[in-house]
Amino acid sequence: MKKILVCVKQVPDTTEIRIDPVKHTLIREGVPSIVNPFDAYALEQAARIKDKEPDTQIVLLSMGPPQAQAALKKCLAVGGDKAYLVSGGVFGGSDTLATSYILSCAVQKVRELEGPFAMILCGKQAIDGDTAQVGPELAEHLGLPQVTYAVEVTAEQNAAVVRRETEEGFERVRVQYPCLITVTKPNFDPRLPSIQAKLAANHKEIALLGVEDLPIDLEKIGLNGSPTRVKKTFTPPVKTSGVTITEEDPALAVEKLVALLQKDGVL
């Protein structure tokens, strides 16, 4: 039986975020929390492997506040068999290095309880931080080989074959088990849960892991264990509005546009 661990983060839906026009800060109130879309793609890749090999087991791992259980419930309804949530105030303020270290400790703990994993799948990046660092940093902490930017993962006996996005097109890469793969947007959508699966997910238990459950060095977590600091945040400058060409006749409008571009010297 193959076991796959999928890492999931609950994130604010950044497409719903607005900027306070006076204070220039993010308005987070009323912004819905969702499963990070790239993690949903990672879970879908795991679920597709399970479709082909039904004895595959998918274990979910998340780190976040207790509310993140809602995200795990959603994942349990679309292929996840079991879920673990790492939660605790001491983890707050962790940068990507500290976060990936905490996750690596959690993976060791889950491995003790569940047995070894052939693959760990993560979303390429979370849409709030957009760093794409936690996956590779986690792989390094665990000493696993990695492949990033996967759009398709095929499970072989002892290795995975990954179709990986590059600037020029794609690569196909074979990576030995156990490995870590980060997943980007494929050309298919993640499956939707059935009503029965949703109900069943509600009855599945989510195991909570606190700091006391993990083999962890407290010096390496939280703000104090993080090499990076946020010095300041600001909203990107907004350019003031330009010229709207109002000519009704499209041919005249286009002529005016060309004249303006020539005057500016960009044509």
Binding site: P136, A139, G169, T233, V254, L267
Partner: protein, 340 residues
């Protein structure tokens, strides 16, 4: 690694399949110099690959004070294991203050792997670089929350300070052709059994040789309003008349109308043309964060409420399927009359 006294700044100059330097590495030599100089540090380009003399020469011509290079068959194409191993060994030996890495897919694969091995801080996908005048630390500025917020990050106590930087944000300096600098050849190798991935196939998307969005002077980009794969035809014609490169928004790529190699924006390429013609692109912040550095933005969209009209220099409300062919004709006419 904890802080040490070395002040050298490194730029990882990624190479392509032919052993030439990718543009972003040469671009980063420019800000790298401005960061290294005030602290009396050297600007060092690091080139890893096989048969990469062309990249070594380019690094010298585009401003590196010295080049460290590692060559071997195992580095002929990128692998996480081989590249991370040799980069970390070089860091241990020379202890640079900071390393700038292009935020390409491979750069963003290797950067975090190095940060985790070296136990240091890494800032992803930066769009601005400065020095903190008090501490001399690099201030790495990057977009977060889908481009809604900018964050400036420092790494005060750990070395090297690491950052990946978006291609197309910085301009290459003028090259000094034939300039030669000290080249240190490090004889490092990674045993085959330590490389746990195997590249089976490289698939280039059709016509990709012509896609160089990051250095394009003019870009004609299409979005959802283009309507179909065929809808890019008139955009291609306009691009041809202008000598421009075609690009696309994520909506058009997601719809399957055009390959992801053409995508511009937060999850695509960062561009800095003098003229950006956005056709049927609504202008979500994720897209606009990739075109911030365009000198002049023209928006053609039939929705007068589309957010792109707030950032465009010139806005034209109308159906791209009607406007674009008219624009092609008008530009042909204008070019004919000015004799260009």
């Amino acid at each position: 690694m904890m802080k040490s006294a070395k002040n050298d700044f490194w730029v990882f100059v990624e190479t392509d399949a032919t052993g030439n330097a990718k543009n972003v590495g040469l671009e980063l030599l420019n800000p790298g110099r401005k960061l290294a100089q005030p602290q009396g540090g050297k600007l060092v380009a690091v080139v890893v690959g096989n048969h990469v003399q062309a990249a070594v020469n380019s690094a010298a011509e585009y401003g590196a004070d010295a080049v460290i290079t590692v060559e071997g068959e195992e580095f002929a194409h990128y692998s996480t294991d081989a590249y991370t191993a040799v980069m970390c060994q070089l860091v241990q030996k020379y202890q640079p203050a900071a390393i700038l890495i292009g935020a390409t897919n491979n750069g963003r694969d290797m950067g975090p792997r190095m940060a985790s091995r070296l136990q240091t801080g890494l800032t992803a996908d930066c769009t601005a670089l400065d020095l903190d005048p008090d501490t001399g630390d690099v201030v790495w500025t990057r977009p977060a929350f889908g481009g809604n917020l900018m964050a400036s990050i420092v790494c005060p106590k750990h070395r090297p300070q690491l950052g990946t930087v978006r291609p197309g944000v910085f301009k290459k300096q003028e090259p000094v052709l034939g300039r030669s600098v000290t080249v240190i050849r490090e004889n490092l190798h990674v045993p085959a059994e330590e490389i746990r991935t195997e590249l089976l196939e490289t698939i280039r998307e059709a016509a990709v040789e012509t896609v160089d969005l990051e250095s394009a002077e003019i870009i004609v980009a299409g979005g959802r309003g283009v309507g179909s794969a065929e809808g890019f035809g008139p955009l291609q014609e306009l691009a041809q008349v202008l000598g421009a490169t075609v690009g696309a928004s994520r909506a058009a790529v997601d719809a399957g109308w055009i390959s992801h190699v053409y995508q511009i924006g937060q999850t695509g390429k960062n561009v800095a043309p003098k003229l950006y013609i956005a056709c049927g692109i609504s202008g979500a912040i994720q897209h606009m964060s990739g075109v911030n550095n365009a000198k002049c933005i023209v928006a053609i969209n039939q929705d007068p409420e589309a957010p792109i009209f707030q950032t465009a220099d010139y806005g034209l409300v109308g159906d791209v399927r009607e406007i674009v062919p008219l624009l092609t004709q008008a530009i042909k006419k204008a070019k004919a009359s000015t004799g260009k």
